[in-house]
């Protein structure tokens, strides 16, 4: 445990000192600023638009962090052979995988909490300016939605670790992770689209396509599960059951990927 923690700490420090972080923070601040300016353009539902834009900005900035900083935290280790140095210490391959993941988790969480703090103040400001339009709004829901953005990033980090353990090319790992994200975001729409089409019997859809999509939906995470933007935006009630279910889904999915990654990693060679 001490070993894993030590690796997590240096991974976190390596990530948090990356200059790219400034760029992402700048972008996020720009988006929040845009939100404040734009809010007045809407005639009703300013609260809703504000929540939408803030959560999107957080999510987008978080994705940039995972894809551009996070990928390097493990990929560069293997690319540049730093891993030979790390593995020369009494540290098992499995411990390496978990330590790296934990480090990336720290990194993503701290960055996202900072963004969420910025975002909260933005929302607060807009709320003060247009108090009448924030009827259903609650910060509690907003933070829940923010937390699930973070959970989504955790799952993505696990996917990234998994692909990094398969390939020694960090660019390849990035591309695979990015594709998984794109599919994960839209898989639900596709599955339900196929269902309605099938029920309607209006178009010929081959059975093999349907079963293919079904199989894909098992392998890739349904990222729509972690999207609580609509609830936060409209102040809709959220059942605890649904929160627990979504949380459990994300955690179990990440754990499976990490276990697989540590299996693969144990068998790997580092030239």
């Amino acid at each position: 445990m001490k070993t894993i923690y030590a690796l997590a700490v240096i991974t976190f420090k390596e990530g948090i000192r990356n200059r790219a972080l400034f760029g992402v923070a700048f972008l996020a601040l720009f988006l929040f600023g845009l939100n404040i300016t734009v809010a007045g353009f809407f005639m009703r539902d300013i609260g809703k638009v504000t929540v939408d834009m803030n959560l999107s900005a957080i999510s987008f900035a978080g994705l940039l962090l995972v894809f551009f900083v996070g990928v390097n935290l493990m990929g560069k280790d293997i690319d540049r052979k730093t891993i030979q140095l790390v593995l020369s210490k009494p540290l098992s391959r499995g411990q390496y995988v978990w330590g790296k993941y934990l480090g990336i988790l720290f990194f993503v969480s701290v960055s996202l909490l900072l963004l969420l703090a910025f975002s909260t103040s933005t929302v607060l400001l807009v709320k003060l300016l247009y108090a009448n339009y924030f009827i259903g709004f609650s910060f509690w829901l907003f933070w829940v939605a923010g937390f699930f953005v973070l959970l989504k990033l955790w799952v993505l980090s696990a996917i990234m670790i998994f692909f990094s353990s398969l390939t020694s090319n960090s660019l390849l790992a990035l591309i695979f992770t990015l594709s998984s994200y794109v599919v994960g975001v839209s898989i639900e729409e596709v599955v339900y689209y196929l269902q309605t089409e099938l029920a309607g019997q209006e178009r010929m859809i081959s059975d093999s396509l349907v079963s293919f999509v079904h199989v894909v939906s098992y392998f890739l995470p349904n990222l729509a599960v972690f999207d609580f933007t609509v609830e936060a935006a409209h102040g809709l009630p959220l059942s605890l059951e649904r929160l627990i279910l979504s949380f459990g889904y994300g955690v179990v999915y990440a754990v499976i990927l990490l276990l697989l990654a540590s299996f693969v990693f144990t068998r790997r060679e580092f030239n």
Partner: protein
């Protein structure tokens, strides 16, 4: 006691899809005894780094066994006894040396205070005190190499495995590392390293293995190397004729080609008779040499022989 034993090991690489396999190591066997300095030399691509990575467990041999203190490599605890310096170590960009060494200590199960003391000592020893709180990305190549050595030595391992420890170092840095290795040797540590810089190998090693095309071509101790030159004088002359060479050999000398002339080895007791012969035949003596065959000569000779 045998520290590291490599037994009939072979390793083939698959460099990627649709490419021919590369045989890196083929039927390699050698032993490194406790407390000795063993140097592996060989031309580029001979399989030195592969061998070292196999000993570290980073690469698995296709066939053969690798033993550390008589046991197969398994688990992680054996690495507590080993300090490893990879070739051209790349360290983390944004960490400081202090943080990196702290990590090395923690993973090796050291206490915080112990780590601090040991790190201070090593950093001072390798003249990195001024920069130990700077991010590693600002380090020069030589500084990184020395930082890598600190990383390898931090937990005071009893066995050191160094891949090209002298590369990228300036003469001062090289002297620093050289002295450090000599000191570790005095402390009774086992040191296994590979290098191109034969001068260093010659001065440091108790035993030397020459690797070529994945095979151990020759193994000799420093004494053997010294013995080649023992009790002999070496004189440089012009190119000798066949008759002259025969005559010299009859008088007890030996002749070999050397830098556009010939080198004659003369046993000390035969000096006068041979000297007389030189005088009579008018063979000029251009100068004296201290050794018959340097490690470099031997190296080139063996590698060229293999190529034929």
């Amino acid at each position: 006691m045998i520290e590291v034993e490599v037994r009939d090991v072979a390793k083939t690489y698959n460099p990627g899809l649709f490419k021919k396999n590369v045989r890196a190591v083929n039927g390699l066997s050698f032993k490194v005894n406790g407390g000795e300095v063993f140097g592996l030399i060989g031309p580029n691509g001979a399989g030195k780094s592969t061998t070292i990575r196999m000993v570290m467990g980073l690469v698995r041999p296709d066939v053969g066994r690798i033993l550390f203190r008589g046991k197969e490599l398994s688990g992680t605890s054996f690495r507590r006894e080993i300090g490893y310096l990879p070739e051209n170590p790349y360290l983390y960009d944004h960490l400081t040396l202090e943080e990196l060494l702290f990590f090395a200590g923690r993973t090796s199960g050291m206490e915080k205070k112990e780590i601090r003391l040991r790190a201070e000592e090593l950093v001072e020893r390798l003249c990195l005190t001024d920069v130990h709180a700077r991010p590693l990305r600002t380090f020069s190549k030589g500084m990184l190499q020395r930082a890598g050595i600190c990383f390898a030595l931090l937990h005071d391992p009893s066995t050191l495995i160094l891949d090209e420890p002298m590369s990228g170092l300036d003469p001062v840095g090289r002297k620093m590392v050289f002295d450090l290795v000599m000191e570790l040797k005095r402390q009774g540590k086992t040191i296994f390293f590979c290098s191109h810089i034969l001068n260093d190998v010659e001065r440091l090693c108790d035993r030397i293995g020459l690797l070529n095309k994945g095979c151990l071509v020759r193994e000799f101790s420093r004494n053997e190397l010294l013995q080649i030159n023992d009790g002999l004088l070496f004189l440089e002359t012009r190119i000798l004729e066949l008759v002259e060479i025969e005559q010299i050999e009859q008088l007890g000398g030996r002749v070999r080609e050397f830098e556009g002339g010939h080198l004659v080895a003369i046993p000390t007791e035969e000096y006068f008779s041979l000297n007389r012969y030189f005088e009579q035949s008018g063979i000029p003596v251009k100068g004296g040499r201290s050794e018959w065959l340097s490690l470099e000569d031997l190296f080139v000779e063996i590698v060229q022989e293999q190529a034929r």
